[in-house]
């Protein structure tokens, strides 16, 4: 809708273009997904034969559009300028007379490559529409809620995915960021007697009562120090590696704190039998 109305507007300005219309009036810029999208729209709107593009007119319209983008302080990406250069190049090539010494009737049409790309892009636009019209998961159809998996049934809310290392790093960053607001961070002098083993035992004790705790809960009631954060991080990595715990990241909730879930029932016992070289 917006695209057609703005094109009409553009056509009108064309008719009376000498009457210095202030450019602020043409605020209704259709949002294109790039230069190719814009060119295809132009071609469709003016019912242009894609194999015989009036390059002069297209180039003019295109440059007008880019100018409008600039006037609106929109960021004009490099791809827009690249296409502008391509159009101007093709236009200049078309203006050159055929080389009379050339025996061939015609050289390749300078528009060929652009036409090939436009058609290719149009085909994929069509394919994208086909995909969009297919019934889609969570829009048109749904699966049975996967409650049957025992680990999901055992604890907590659904819609979790297995956390990746990046989720762990993100969770760590959040804790550190909170920490940095407190000035004590800088004056850390005392050092807790923290060992990897000790922290693992602590986490295991927490998980013995409840099957799942959040990442921030691990630091509740402790003095937050860099040493503790790093040791906790290492403890989580080690516990995940030996399958004592699983890490989950809520997928859809706003509260995106990492969740730690026990993967063994007798977690305290398991943690006490661990052996470390540290």
């Amino acid at each position: 809708m917006t695209t057609s109305s703005s094109a009409d507007a553009a056509a009108k300005t064309d008719g009376k273009k000498e009457k210095s219309v202030p450019p602020e009036l043409s605020l209704d810029l259709p949002a294109y997904r790039g230069p190719m999208d814009m060119l295809l729209d132009l071609i469709q709107k003016h019912e242009i034969d894609i194999f015989d593009i009036p390059i002069e007119m297209i180039t003019r319209r295109y440059l007008e559009y880019v100018d409008q983008m600039k006037e609106l302080d929109l960021q004009v990406g490099g791809e827009w300028l690249e296409m502008a250069a391509t159009l101007v190049y093709i236009k200049s090539k078309m203006l050159l007379p055929d080389d009379p010494d050339d025996d061939d009737d015609e050289g390749p049409d300078p528009r060929d490559e652009l036409v090939r790309r436009l058609i290719e892009y149009q085909v994929f636009q069509w394919a994208a529409e086909q995909l969009h019209e297919r019934p889609q998961l969570r829009r048109d159809f749904f699966m049975a809620a996967p409650k049957a998996l025992h680990e999901r049934e055992q604890v907590g809310p659904p819609q979790l995915r297995q956390a990746s290392l990046f989720d762990l790093v993100d969770a760590l960053k959040r804790v550190i960021e909170e920490q940095e607001e407190e000035p004590e961070w800088v004056y850390e002098i005392t050092r807790e007697k923290l060992t990897l083993r000790g922290v693992i035992l602590e986490i295991a004790a927490l998980l013995a009562d409840r099957p799942r705790v959040s990442f921030t809960e691990l630091f509740a009631g402790t003095d937050l120090s860099r040493h503790r954060i790093v040791t906790t991080f290492l403890a989580l990595l080690e516990m995940t590696r030996i399958n004592m715990i699983r890490l989950f990241q809520p997928r859809l909730s706003d509260d995106n704190d990492l969740l730690i879930e026990r993967a063994v029932i007798d977690i305290v016992e398991v943690s006490q039998t661990l052996e470390f070289d540290i």
């Binding site: 009036p54 791809e79 892009y121 394919a127 297919r134």
Partner: protein
């Protein structure tokens, strides 16, 4: 033997129904065979085929469909709106840019980001990342070239998301729009060859470009 198999058929059918409901991923014949090792694969196949016929059509709320090489129960797409009301949820919306990029990956895979950029004429790295987050595409390898660029491809989740049995289930591009366009091109060429010059000059009057 045969008679016992015949007797068991309704039970086999019921077991398969139960498995289909409980399974999280599309259930393949192979997976079914590990659960029901005494049942001949033909019987599994036949039972699934008959269940597929039964769970289908506008009269059923649950459909059995072939997805990503297996079978999956899902709700009838007609009733998506009702379920969304139940969940009070909005449909997952992929932007048109994401759809275009997804289509390019689906048809051209494996492909690099640069190839997707080339087709769309814009930088696709952000969109590719979003699609990766949705688990619709993934990095499936590296191109053996300078810089070892990542190669992208679609995932099983993609097939599930669009209810496709396999990538071959996508409508073919060659036989559709592209061919029509190529035909148009040929026709356009023929016309321009046959038609005398004056005709094309007259035609240009119709162009909205005249100033």
């Amino acid at each position: 033997m045969e008679s016992t198999e015949l007797m068991e058929k309704p039970q086999i059918r019921a077991i398969i129904e139960a498995l289909l409901l409980a399974a999280e991923d599309p259930l393949t014949i192979d997976r079914l065979a590990t659960v029901l090792p005494d049942v001949a694969p033909e019987i599994l196949r036949d039972t699934l085929a008959s269940l597929e016929l039964e769970f289908a059509g506008p009269g059923r709320g649950i459909h059995l469909v072939r997805i990503a090489g297996g079978y999956q129960l899902r709700t009838n797409p007609e009733f998506g709106g009702h379920i969304r009301t139940l969940f009070e949820s909005k449909p997952v919306r992929l932007s048109r840019a994401a759809m275009e990029t997804l289509a390019i990956v689906a048809y051209r895979q494996p492909l690099t980001r640069a190839e997707a950029d080339e087709v769309r004429g814009v930088n696709c790295s952000g969109v590719l990342k979003t699609l990766q987050e949705y688990e619709l595409i993934d990095v499936i390898g590296q191109l053996d070239d300078i810089g070892k660029p990542n190669l992208y491809g679609t995932t099983d989740r993609f097939l599930e998301f669009f209810g496709l049995e396999g990538i071959g289930d996508l409508p073919t591009l060659e036989s559709s729009e592209l061919e029509a366009l190529i035909e148009m091109h040929d026709v356009a060429e023929e016309v321009s060859e046959e038609a005398p010059e004056e005709d094309s000059v007259e035609d240009s009057d119709d162009e909205p470009t005249t100033e």
